[in-house]
Amino acid sequence: MNGDAYWLGVASGFVVVGVVIEMVRRRYLRGRFALVWILLGVGAILLALFPRLLERAATALGVTVPLNLLLFLGSIAMLIMIMQLSAEAGRLRERTRVLAEEVALLRTLVGSADEPRARSIAAEDRDQDSPR
């Protein structure tokens, strides 16, 4: 590997870790997800700094081209994270649904005294949703 590409790899690894840490600091990324991203970033830096690691791992696993191992592992990692996000989205959707149902029932208990205002609040909520 020539010098420029080496430093490009190292630099992008640091950029990833830097962005993740900044996002965690601003509380955009939380919990498990932050941890996974930091681990991936650190892994990228390590591989960039010590390309021999990848070659050794490839030889040990019987993969002829080291880069193939990297791509394979990378796509597996992405797949797992996407599945994780899909599951999370489904769970959030279900929770939103339950909350909406509860809100509707609570409104019937609170009564219709404030009906015009309730309607305008509901209309505002709808406007904030993405238009269908």
Binding site: R97, A100, L105, T108, R119, R126
Partner: protein, 244 residues
């Protein structure tokens, strides 16, 4: 927890933009079953559905955004369970279901947990032709075999549920497409509920168009198959206890 519904019947009317039809539906339900309470679940309508239904004398639960029939119905079942109602009848807000048949549906609850009002079981003149008819036929025989009871109109939303079914559906009522009709039957089966059908006549809709045209029937059938499979594969907790 309330007890205002103890032993009573709750008619749940899911309604989405049905301001024109809803008053008529509420009035005819009141006429058919004067002792029942009516809960109109406004599924995030943009029109005056809530206001009209309230003016017509129904209790109204307004969802903050559109959840589909499944979400609206589960809201109704939650309410029914909390207030201790002994039966829930679903009547669509578009006027398609004739409330005159509600007493017959309720009578069927004597021996079953769920009674489905079926269009093709002999009564009425509701006609569909071509691919849509074949799709519905295929679906009917498939569901009948699966449920081990004859179901000619598994996608019918006109049904009555007894106390055990209320407990199940207050927790689990699918929101997905066709989930509110087909998958609920699969859930009933998996939870140990018994299902039967009652022949009913359906009116043509007062307003609005049917959910799907005849050209898309085979796709619909395929999707229905997927929904049923999904319902079978999913785990549903068995909570059908006899004491509600």
């Amino acid at each position: 927890m309330g007890t205002r519904g103890r032993g009573k019947v709750l008619v749940v009317v899911p309604a989405y933009n049905e301001a024109e039809a809803i008053a008529g539906v509420v009035a005819s339900v009141t006429r058919a079953v004067p002792t029942a309470d009516i809960l109109v679940v406004d599924d995030g309508s943009c029109d005056a559905t809530s206001a009209v239904a309230r003016a017509a004398g129904a209790r109204v639960a307004t969802l903050p955004f559109n959840l589909g029939v499944g979400g609206a119905m589960r809201t109704g079942f939650r309410h029914a369970k909390r207030e201790g109602y002994s039966a829930v009848v679903q009547v669509d807000g578009d006027g398609q279901h004739d409330p005159a048949f509600i007493p017959q549906l309720l009578a069927a609850l004597e021996h079953h947990d769920v009674a489905v009002g079926a269009r093709f079981a002999g009564t009425g003149d509701y006609v569909v032709r071509g691919p849509r008819r074949w799709a519905m036929r295929g679906l009917a025989s498939g569901m009948s075999a699966l449920m081990t009871t004859r179901l000619d109109d598994a996608t019918s939303g006109f049904r009555a549920c007894g106390p055990r079914a209320i407990s199940v559906y207050a927790q689990h009522y699918p929101a997905e497409y066709l989930g509110d009709t087909l998958e609920t039957l699969v859930i009933a089966r998996k939870s140990g509920l018994t299902v039967t059908q009652v022949p009913v006549a359906m009116r043509h809709r007062n307003t609005g168009r049917p959910s799907h045209g005849s050209a898309r029937s085979s796709v619909e059938l395929l999707r229905a198959g997927c929904v049923v499979m999904l319902g079978l594969v999913r785990e549903w907790p068995v909570i059908a206890d006899s004491s509600p």
